[in-house]
């Protein structure tokens, strides 16, 4: 049980960090640019 909670907390923290770093780098604009290429 504790292992499951720990696994979830680690996954959630890593996921949120990844997303925050992507947003910090302004990747939304790059995604928009990719859409505009089509």
């Amino acid at each position: 049980m504790k292992f499951k909670i720990l696994a979830f907390l680690l996954t959630a923290a890593a996921s949120a960090s990844l997303l925050a770093y992507g947003l910090f780098r302004g990747e939304i604009t790059k995604v928009l640019y990719n859409g505009a290429l089509l």
Binding site: F8, G22, E27, T29, N34, A36
Partner: protein
Amino acid sequence: MPFLRRRIYQALGTVLPNSYVQGFLTASLYQGPLKGVCTPLFNCYACPSALFSCPIGTIQHFAATGKVPFYAAGTMAVVGASVGRMTCGTLCPFGFLQDILYKIRTWKGRLPGWASWLRYAALAVLVFLIPAVTHVHWFSRLCPMGTLSAGLPWVAMSGSIRAMIGSLFWVKIGILLLFATSSVLVKRPFCRAACPLGAIFSLFNRSSFLQLAWNPDTCTRCGKCRKICPVDIRPDYNPTNPECLRCWDCTRCPSLKMTTVLARNPFGLPGMAEGRGAEILPGTSSG
């Protein structure tokens, strides 16, 4: 989650991200700020009615340009860490289509177990490796959802696009027909054997916040959960199976329940979940 409610969510997952109707009327693509948002389901960039962006298309774009897709991967990871593969089971439009096609009454078969490894191969090879080497978005070029929601509408709407039809278009049509016809015979063939988005979300089923709990004390191992499961698995054997779409159809059985990773006793009694049975309850025999 009641079955009808899931169908409503699937219909909303199909209609809402594709509600830019002007795209069809004016033969154009929406290019507003929402297009920068990755949805946790297939929402093809090139579909005239698409409001959002496809995460797989975005990841390929970054792979093709030699960059790491932190934002797209982070969005997928946050959704996966929260609900596992639930968006596949409750929102994805292509999953919805496959569920409907499977309703057609005819001979039914089962996919072999090894087929589920193919979606990881599709993720590694078609989404990361080949785009990184060739700088071309090969999964998007072959994606049956892209053919259905973007390729076919554009061919119908635009004479100049029709003039550009080549052999690749017929390969795409062939792939779409292959998955459409196989969906009549087996449950969700694309999700299980080819979907790279499903492959990403599969990795989170074990550690996601939402979990499926199984009660070994009330389960009679009747196998009805497998019958109603849209991917043919036995949730009683492994509630954290990476194949599980978290559609919650099996929770119609009282021995299976939607729960969270924080719930210690999802069925209300100590020890009645996670494979632990009556043997640890005080006053019961170990059988």
